[in-house]
Symmetry: C2
Subunit: 333 residues, 2 copies
């Protein structure tokens, strides 16, 4: 295992300390229990937005806390759910008196711990609503999931839902638009290689030198099938067809086309995927009005990528276009 680390047990604390120093104008890092919240604390009167999940998906985590996106986040250990006390602390930090939305990616451990944290918050008179993101159209149930997994589309959901809270949506309306965002999108991905969690010290799964896995989960959960390496246009055909079939896009609709890299896949390859996905949507008469390409939801140094397509109406376009200022996603006015 060649990694730029010291003791594997110190990876998370050293990375998070470095992150918090580098971005101290945006986020504040708390260690007991571990969570990040916006520098300056909760915005009074604004609906709070909290997410969380395992580490190893950076910039997901502290990288998406800031104006126009999350108020606080609870990052667990690598590929492990955050604990209820972490989520509670993040919820308290995000609470500006107008309630807090929990945006939860659909993994069983995360669901259970967010539920417990919501009960603890209720006991403190913090109103909590929950929306579960399950954008992965590849498989119905998976290793750590009942129902569909929450994957790369969750990042767009965090950005757009955060914009809604900044625009003054109350808790009920925020939960409603977050659900609408989740219902408007689908994602499917593939991996070429596994990754190695530092504390595990060995690859999370095995893939042959000429083998890829379609529909794989971001932690290496089994996908749809393992196939010999093929040309990327054929891969994109499988991914886009699955999402289009699920979302039933119609001629004339506007969409976001979003390619997410898992870590080790060069940007040039991600744009080649975009290129063919765009042609396919164009052939269907679907208009790509917003585009996003890059490493937004990674799995350490895994090679692979996913395609997300989201139906955009006027409201969702406005939320996508709103300013955002986080370490992982920045955009001016």
């Amino acid at each position: 295992m060649k990694k730029l680390i010291n003791d594997p047990e110190d990876v998370l604390s050293e990375f998070m300390r470095g992150f918090s120093i580098a971005h101290k104008d945006i986020v504040e890092y708390k260690t007991d229990p571990v969570h990040f919240h916006r520098a300056g604390g909760a915005v009074q009167g604004k609906t709070g937005l909290v997410s969380g999940g395992g580490s190893g998906h950076e910039p997901l985590g502290g990288g998406y806390v800031g104006a126009g996106m999350l108020d606080a986040v609870a990052p667990g250990a690598f590929f492990s759910s955050p604990t209820p006390d972490q989520i509670l602390a993040a919820t308290e930090a995000a609470n500006g008196g107008a309630g807090v939305l929990h945006l939860v990616l659909n993994y069983t451990g995360d669901i259970l711990n967010f539920e417990m944290a919501a009960e603890l918050a209720a006991a403190e008179d913090i109103e909590v609503a929950t929306v579960v993101i399950d954008d992965d159209v590849a498989v119905e149930n998976s290793t750590w999931t009942a129902g569909r997994r929450g994957v790369a589309g969750a990042i767009a959901a965090m950005k757009m839902t955060g914009a809604a809270t900044d625009l003054g949506y109350d808790l009920a309306k925020t939960a409603e638009v977050c659900t609408k965002i989740n219902d408007s999108m689908g994602t499917m991905g593939l991996a070429l290689t596994a990754c190695t969690v530092p504390t595990a010290g060995k690859p999370s799964f095995d893939l042959g030198p000429d083998e890829i896995e379609l529909g794989i989960g971001v932690h290496g959960e089994p996908g749809v099938k393992r196939v010999p390496m093929m040309q990327v246009d054929e891969i994109v055909d499988v991914l886009v067809d699955a999402v289009v079939k699920d979302l039933k896009f119609e001629r004339g609709e506007n969409v976001l086309l979003y390619i997410n890299g898992l870590g080790a896949t060069p940007l040039s390859e991600q744009y080649i995927m975009y290129n063919h996905a765009w042609d396919k949507l164009d052939a269907l008469g679907v208009n790509v009005t917003r585009s996003q390409v890059g490493n937004y939801f990674t799995s350490l140094e895994m090679a692979g990528a996913s395609v997300t397509i989201m139906r955009l109406d006027e409201e969702l376009t406005k939320l996508y276009d709103a300013p955002v200022h986080t370490a992982g996603w920045r955009k001016g006015v």
Copy 2:
């Protein structure tokens, strides 16, 4: 070679077409000869800023064209210099009547072709000045370089020099501040693995399973030494000490601390490097007033990273903070 590509010969054209569709609000893509310029063309009366170099370092290339950064760029084939006619076309596209600065990374082929393009531009009455970026403190001469190589610091130089042109600096003042930026910084990096250029089909060099190379160039040019894998703090000691020794930072000075990932190195590892580099500068009494961590200058899927430290005075801080809107570097006002 598992890569998300079709025919290796089509990688550049497919990626660049995808890129140009995804970012058509920011850049325009021309194919004869290949170059990118700002959507809307040259800004009249503004000093133009042009760079170029081999592809494979994305988002470098079209990703840094846009408001607050480059006016145009000439991307060569993978790890190959752009041709003089590409550079000339980019120069013409960037010319708003106030002259054009060529920001050239120090590789012999690039230097020669930019010189030839500058002569061709002069014949068209476009005034051209040239600044060569050579921030790599690792080695004095290298495989494709007389003198020091231009590496990750070049991206900061592009951003800050672009800000200067947007602020109204004339050609002479722009060249002067670009030289000052280059003189104010140093970079040193390392690699854990090689990368594979699609058209070559095999790794660009060999590194053993427990071996790393310190001071390596972004194309795999020999560095200072190959050593067994060690803890990252020891690696950062070597890199930071080399840059500090070269730049002679003094107690009380303000600096930018910038960690660049080469492609496959997770963000968490880059922040661990930042964490220790920050502690070292702090111990020297040097103030890190600006921070940057991420994959700004990659080498396809190479694993590795570099540390850049730049002395910041009031002028350079202002240029670093100015708004920028490109595909690869965005920041609001």
